[in-house]
C-alpha cells in the first residue's frame, strides 16, 4: 500500500521530468527557429534594397546594379511546369496502383521498399543519372526538358509516398460501401479514393515541388553553370496549331544557379544580388508551402466521417 506522501512524491517527480523535457524541447525548437531567423535577417539586410521592379525584369549583367533575375525566374517556372506535368500523373498513378490494384506479394513489397529508399537518395545521383539518360542517351541536351524530367524523377518518391499515406487514411468502410452497390474498382478510385485523398495528395505534390525549386546539384550536373540573357520561345504562336513546344529544348538557368553564379563574383555588389535572389526564392517556397497548408485545410473541411 502506498501512503499519500509517497504518491505526492511520485507526482512531483513526474512533474519535474515533465518540466525538464519541456525546457529541452523548447531549446531544440528555438535553435531551429533562431537559425532560420538569423539567416532570413541576413538575407533581408544584404539584399532587400536590391528588390525593385528592374531586378525582376532585367537579365543577368556584368554590372551588378543592372543585373536581374528575369531569365532565372522564367527558367525556374518552366522547369517546374515540366516537373509537375510529369511527376504528378506518374506519382499519383503509381501510388493508386500500388494501393488499390496491386496484389500483395514480394514484388510489391520490394517496390515499396525501393520507393521509400529512393526518397533518401542524394539529389546529385539523380543529376548523374539524368546526364547519362536525358542529356546524352535521349539527346534532349542541356534543356528545360532534361532539367524538368530530372527534378520529376527526384520528387516522384515523395509524391508516391504521400499519396499512399493519403489513400490509406480513407476508411475501408467507404470501399466496402462502394463495392456493395456494385461499383467497379475504377469507379471507386475516380469517385471516392481520389477526391477524398486530394488534400493529402496535393500537400505531397507541393512539398515535392518546393523541394525541387531550390535544388541546385542535379541541375548543375546536367545544365552546367550557364548564364542566359534571353527567354525561351513563347509556347504560343500566331499560326496553326498555335502551340509550340520549342521552349522545352531551350537552354535555361534557374534561381539557385543564378545565385551560385553571383556568389562567385569578385564584386561585393553581386553578393547583394545573390541575397536578394535568395529572398525571392524563400518567398516562392513560402508561397508554395502556404498553398499546401491552405489546400489541406480546405479539403479536410469537406470530408465528413
Amino acid at each position: 500500500m502506498l501512503d499519500v506522501q509517497a504518491i505526492q512524491e511520485l507526482v512531483r517527480k513526474g512533474r519535474r521530468y515533465d518540466a525538464i523535457f519541456a525546457i529541452i524541447g523548447l531549446f531544440c525548437m528555438m535553435i531551429g527557429i533562431l537559425m532560420l531567423a538569423v539567416l532570413l535577417g541576413g538575407l533581408v539586410d544584404d539584399g532587400a534594397h536590391r528588390l525593385n521592379w528592374t531586378f525582376f525584369e532585367n537579365f543577368p549583367s556584368r554590372r551588378a546594379q543592372r543585373a536581374g533575375i528575369l531569365s532565372a525566374m522564367v527558367g525556374s517556372t518552366l522547369v517546374m511546369l515540366i516537373t509537375a506535368a510529369t511527376a504528378i500523373p506518374f506519382g499519383v498513378g503509381a501510388a493508386i496502383y500500388l494501393e488499390e490494384y496491386a496484389r500483395r506479394n514480394w514484388v510489391t513489397n520490394l517496390i515499396e521498399i525501393n520507393v521509400t529508399n529512393l526518397a533518401g537518395v542524394p539529389s546529385i545521383i539523380y543529376g548523374l543519372l539524368a546526364l547519362g539518360l536525358f542529356v546524352y542517351a535521349l539527346d534532349f541536351g542541356q534543356s528545360i526538358l532534361s532539367a524538368g524530367l530530372t527534378l520529376a524523377l527526384m520528387i516522384l518518391p515523395v509524391i508516391i509516398v504521400s499519396t499512399r499515406e493519403a489513400i490509406r487514411a480513407i476508411p475501408s468502410s467507404i470501399r466496402e460501401a462502394a463495392y456493395a452497390v456494385g461499383a467497379t474498382r475504377w469507379q471507386l478510385v475516380r469517385d471516392h479514393i481520389v477526391p477524398y485523398s486530394a488534400g493529402g495528395i496535393l500537400t505531397g505534390i507541393i512539398i515535392g515541388l518546393a523541394r525541387a525549386i531550390g535544388e541546385t546539384a542535379p541541375i548543375i550536373t546536367i545544365g552546367a553553370l550557364t548564364v542566359i540573357a534571353f527567354l525561351p520561345d513563347s509556347p504560343f504562336t500566331g499560326e496553326f496549331p498555335y502551340l509550340s513546344f520549342e521552349w522545352m529544348k531551350s537552354p535555361f538557368t534557374v534561381m539557385p544557379i543564378q545565385m551560385f553564379n553571383w556568389l562567385s563574383r569578385p564584386q561585393a555588389a553581386f553578393q547583394e544580388n545573390a541575397a536578394a535572389a535568395g529572398l525571392v526564392l524563400v518567398v516562392m517556397t513560402l508561397i508554395m508551402n502556404g498553398a499546401a497548408i491552405w489546400l489541406r485545410m480546405r479539403f479536410r473541411k469537406r470530408i465528413k466521417w
Partner: protein, 344 residues
C-alpha cells in the same frame, strides 16, 4: 473529376511534346569553359545581345578542362580557356573531326596575395614560392621562417585554385615547372572568393588568384611583388639575385612582359564549322573589336592592339589549330604566339 481532367491534359501535352522534340531550337551561340575567361565572354555576350537584339548566347562555366571536353564532343561553338589546349584534348578534337581557331583575347596576371596585416613580406622570388608550394613541401614547410630565415616565426597557411581549374594548371607550370605538381595540404577552391576570405583573415596566410579578384578586394589584400627568375632578364639587372626588385602585377607590367612568369594569355577556341554560321562570324568579329575594352573593364589586361589585328589575319588566312604543341609554355608573348605555325 477535376483531378482526372488535369491528368488527361498533361498526358496529352507530354505526348505532343515527345512528337515535336526532334526539332531544334533557333540558333543559339553556345559557349562554355574557364571561369577565369567567363567574365570577359559574359561582358561581350551581354553587349552583343544588346547590339544585335534577339541574338542568343549562352555562357557556361565548366572550367577550362570541362569546356574542352564539351568542345571536342562538338556540343559547343566556342570554348573559353585560361591555358592552351593540351595534347590529349587536341587528339580528342582531331578524332571527332573538330577543327578550331585559337584566339588570344586578353592577359590575366596570377596575383600572389597576403593579408593587409602582413607587413613583413616585401617580395618573393619564384624559388621561394616553389619552396612553399612544391609537393615535397607538404606537411614540412609550415612556417614562414622556413621560407626565408629573416621572416618571423609564424605558421604559413596557403590557399589557391582547385585542381580542376586552368589557374591551377598555369600556377603549377609557372612555379613548379611541372603541370599539376602542387602540395595538397592547402585551402583549395574553384571559387576565388574563398581564397580572398581565407587570406584576408589570417596574417600568416598566402594565396594566389586572378588579378580581377585582387583588384576588387584591394582594401583587404596586398599583392606581393614577384622577382622574376634570373633567366628572363639575364645578368644585366643586377649581380646578386637578392638585389633584384620584385614586380607588382598591373596592366603596364603585364603588357611590357616584366611581370613574368605569372602573367598568362587567355583564349577562346572557335570551332571552324560554327564560324561558317553568320551569327557566330559576327560574334567573333564583335569579340575582337569590343573585347579589349570590355576585358579591361572587368579587371583583365588587354593585349597590345597589334595582337587583335594578327588574330583577325589568322582567321582570314584560315590558320587552323593551336600555336602550342599541346604543352603549356610560360612567358610567351601573344605576338610570338600568333605568328607561329599551327598544329592540329
Amino acid at each position: 473529376m477535376n483531378m482526372m481532367n488535369m491528368m488527361k491534359r498533361w498526358v496529352v501535352g507530354l505526348a505532343l511534346a515527345t512528337v515535336v522534340s526532334g526539332v531544334h531550337a533557333a540558333a543559339v551561340i553556345e559557349i562554355d569553359g574557364s571561369s577565369t575567361v567567363y567574365p570577359i565572354t559574359e561582358a561581350v555576350a551581354e553587349e552583343y545581345q544588346v547590339a544585335m537584339g534577339g541574338a542568343r548566347v549562352t555562357v557556361g562555366i565548366s572550367g577550362t578542362g570541362g569546356g574542352f571536353k564539351r568542345f571536342c564532343r562538338g556540343e559547343i561553338d566556342i570554348a573559353n580557356a585560361s591555358r592552351p589546349i593540351l595534347k590529349e584534348e587536341m587528339i580528342a578534337c582531331a578524332q571527332a573531326g573538330i577543327r578550331y581557331y585559337e584566339l588570344p583575347i586578353a592577359y590575366d596576371a596570377l596575383t600572389v596575395v597576403v593579408s593587409k596585416s602582413n607587413t613583413f613580406v616585401d617580395q618573393l622570388t619564384i624559388d621561394e614560392l616553389k619552396r612553399m608550394w612544391e609537393p615535397a613541401a607538404a606537411q614540412k614547410i609550415t612556417n614562414w621562417n622556413q621560407v626565408r630565415p629573416t621572416f618571423p616565426k609564424l605558421p604559413l597557411k596557403l590557399a589557391g585554385a582547385g585542381a580542376d581549374s586552368g589557374t591551377f594548371d598555369y600556377w603549377t607550370e609557372a612555379v613548379m615547372k611541372r603541370s599539376k605538381a602542387s602540395r595538397g595540404d592547402y585551402q583549395a577552391s574553384e571559387d576565388d572568393n574563398v581564397t580572398v576570405q581565407y587570406v584576408s583573415r589570417d596574417k600568416g596566410a598566402l594565396g594566389y588568384l586572378g588579378m580581377a579578384y585582387f583588384e576588387e578586394n584591394a582594401e583587404k589584400l596586398r599583392a606581393v611583388p614577384i622577382v622574376p627568375p634570373h633567366s628572363t632578364n639575364g645578368a644585366a639587372s643586377g649581380a646578386a639575385n637578392g638585389a633584384k626588385k620584385g614586380v607588382v602585377p598591373s596592366a603596364k607590367t603585364v603588357n611590357n612582359g616584366t611581370y613574368q612568369p605569372l602573367s598568362r594569355p587567355l583564349f577562346i577556341y572557335v570551332k571552324e564549322k560554327s564560324l561558317q554560321r553568320p551569327e557566330i562570324k559576327t560574334f567573333v568579329e564583335f569579340f575582337l573589336t569590343e573585347g579589349p575594352a570590355l576585358a579591361a573593364e572587368v579587371g583583365y589586361v588587354e593585349l597590345p592592339a597589334n595582337a587583335y589585328t594578327l588574330a583577325r589575319q589568322n582567321l582570314k588566312n584560315r590558320k587552323i589549330g593551336s600555336g602550342f604543341a599541346g604543352v603549356a609554355e610560360i612567358g610567351l608573348t601573344v605576338e610570338q604566339l600568333l605568328v607561329r605555325e599551327r598544329k592540329r
